[in-house]
Symmetry: C2
Subunit: 430 residues, 2 copies
């Protein structure tokens, strides 16, 4: 962790607050610089934040039933929907016929949390101190937690299937142990998506709107799948975001320079993230909890599983950043116990680079070729700025010792990450 | 390791032969189905093979001087060159003005080794039992080994430099310890390439021909670089190849369905590779030895360092492959103690897919977007064929537990690999 200031000691004892996920504390599918904060913290404070997966309605009995927070957020009858805006689209639900917000953006995000004194140009350090799966509150499944993997229309595989019916969307429900007895997940069953009619009467032929209730009387559950397989558990948050400054309402899907939907499974317990602050107060939100994900998130989702995280938020003021690892930081940076990781995207700041139509354009320009270029430039920047190497040194080191991997190929603004091992710099306290 | 047959016991005791690298036992920059084998083995035999880096002349004193094998291969005076053909280009050295073979292909490969009874459709298993750096034979550098990293014109960074002069090529010499005292490499010095005149009088303004002698009186050595940095050592072979069947002389740079220049640092000691046999006898060659490389090999090369490997070659006959992990294997497959790894390329078999001009076309179509597609399809094939999963199971598993990484972005036919952990299948002896 980077120690450039001592805000905690300068402003009194750190507090520890808890932020539950309810209809009143979440925003669904978008970020906005104009959202009213649901909590305010000072640098050095701790906060425990509940997050809910937007895929919980894929199995209501296992992921919603009996859970007051989840029931509050997912409540939807023919007369009322708890969270009306879902996504960054028009609030007039008739424009595209899917519902309010039109589903341009999918993630349930808890927050935003205002960080006092945070100003554009500062860096917010987010220390992830703990991550726990949210145990099922339905007595029928006590001691267990569940997640959903959707192989969906936005997946990399979708137009490239071998077997019939083509195309198709498939939901796989996975189970985790919450007693600590095992560190792997197992598949419970899967089903193919069939058209679902939401409580307002809109038919969803594909998974086109977040949180549509799935009627299990209509689907065929297959319980003999992935028999005996053990999925390594890697609990992490797909989305940790500050609010971007460029646009009023920003789709939660494409990651950007202030973070968002990075979908790197390394952003779990023990990890530290650094983000440039773009708007006053930063406006920190967390969502898209994942139990497990592979590098690439190939089919469109991870094991989407509600989690609770404990964070410490540390503000680094812009006038104290020179000659620290955070100097000139214009992108989300990950630190683990062993590694520094930079995140490249097809477009580093698509909102600024692609102009007025950025939020639709970005979906047409997904490319890991472009993301590789961005990851190269960011790692070079890190090595030259933070580690003080010449460009010749940085480029040789990258080729012989930095590992580039595919973060995701499903979030419009596709990602490549670059991993630098700290052990390369043995004399460096960093 | 896969046990589908018992060729060793069926045909007598396994032998262990040694194949030294000399001008008579190497081919430089190309593969060919017509090369005369330099050694013949039967299934189950062991062979220790010396390999030489084609970058040794970047520092003659440290990587060639006093080493009879290297001196034999690199010998080049105004009157004679030990290895005349270097690459897959025309033998008339005047066509492009660079020299015989014209440098279309760069790697010094030791071999080929003929595997008796190997026929198209069989699979050759290559067990890498040991890998050792080739100690310097110059008494001035006893107990040490050296390698060269070239940030060259074919690197991903080359047209995207920040600092002057632009563009430029930079050689960095690294040192390894051969006494076992440390498992990391350190940089010794670097220099920028300046035009070099080869012994035949051809001027090389860029690194356009393999093995051009570098006159150190012409370059500026900088010895204060990468001070104190420890590069993790990952000795491996960039090139392990069988001969392709499609074309007579094949450039060694683009990897393909029978292996070749895959450049995955995991192909080191303890690894097992499986290749489809394309021509009678297989024609197995090894080269492009690397001391360390990061995923992506960003600047064009690794720490290019002569190595000696010990291999066991096991032939799996095509009629014994059904219901084994090798069933229907049409691509190079890596097995480590913990993982299965498939290799995707921009074009899985560019020689067949791109037609008569494949060997030039492939350089214009480099893309990790395409390689990601191929890696997805190969991992799906592996999971469905070898592991017996349905397509729905395979796709979900890939998204939640398979890691895709960037193998290389510098070998024309760019690479993405996909890593599957064996521990996911706890009941599987595979």
């Amino acid at each position: 962790m980077v120690t450039t200031n001592r805000h905690t000691s300068a402003t009194g004892e750190a507090s520890h607050q808890v932020l539950s996920a309810t209809a009143a504390t979440v925003h669904w599918g978008y970020f906005s610089r104009s959202l009213k904060p649901v909590l305010s913290v000072k640098s050095g404070d701790f906060v425990t934040i509940e997050t809910l997966t937007h895929h919980a309605y894929d199995d209501h009995a296992r992921m919603i039933e009996g859970d007051p927070g989840a029931e509050s957020v997912f409540h939807w009858t023919k007369d009322a929907k708890s969270v009306d805006r879902r996504g960054a689209g028009p609030m007039d639900a008739s424009v595209h016929g899917r519902g309010a917000g039109e589903g341009f953006g999918v993630h349930i995000c808890t927050g935003p949390v205002l960080v006092r004194d945070a100003e554009p140009g500062d860096v917010l350090e987010v220390r992830i101190l703990d991550v726990k799966p949210r145990g099922c509150r339905n007595p029928a499944f006590e001691g267990r937690a569940f997640g959903s993997n959707a192989a969906a229309w936005w997946g990399f595989h979708y137009n490239d299937l071998l077997t019939e019916p083509k195309p198709r969307e498939v939901i796989t429900i996975y189970e985790l142990d919450t007693t600590g007895g095992r560190n792997w997940a197992r598949a419970v069953y899967n089903y193919r998506w069939v058209p679902q009619t939401d409580p307002f009467g809109v038919v969803h032929r594909i998974i086109d709107y977040p949180g549509v209730p799935v009627d299990h009387a209509l689907v065929q559950e297959n319980h003999s799948i992935l028999k005996g397989l053990r999925i390594p558990v890697r609990p992490h948050f797909g989305v940790i975001a500050l609010a971007p400054k460029e646009t009023e309402i920003v789709n939660s899907i494409p990651p950007n320079y202030v973070g968002g939907n990075i979908d790197n499974w390394r952003i779990g317990k023990g990890a530290v993230m650094y983000y440039p602050v773009a708007v006053p107060g930063g406006l920190f939100s967390v969502g898209d909890p994942h139990a497990s994900q592979g590098d690439s998130e190939l089919c469109g989702t991870a094991i989407e599983c509600s989690l609770t995280g404990t964070f410490q938020l540390v503000l680094h003021k812009r006038d104290r950043l020179a000659r620290t690892p955070l100097a000139d930081l214009g992108y989300p940076l990950l630190e683990t116990s062993d590694e520094w990781v930079v995140h490249g995207f097809s477009f580093a700041n698509y909102l600024a680079e692609l102009g007025d139509t950025a939020q639709s354009e970005i979906f047409a320009k997904s490319s890991i070729d472009l993301a590789m270029r961005d990851a190269f430039r960011k790692m070079r920047h890190f090595l030259m700025t933070t580690k003080g190497l010449s460009e010749d040194e940085a480029i040789s080191l990258m080729s012989v010792a930095v590992d580039f991997g595919v973060t995701q190929v499903v979030d419009a603004n596709w990602g490549i990450h670059a991993i630098l091992k700290k052990a390369i710099f043995p004399g460096d306290p960093g």
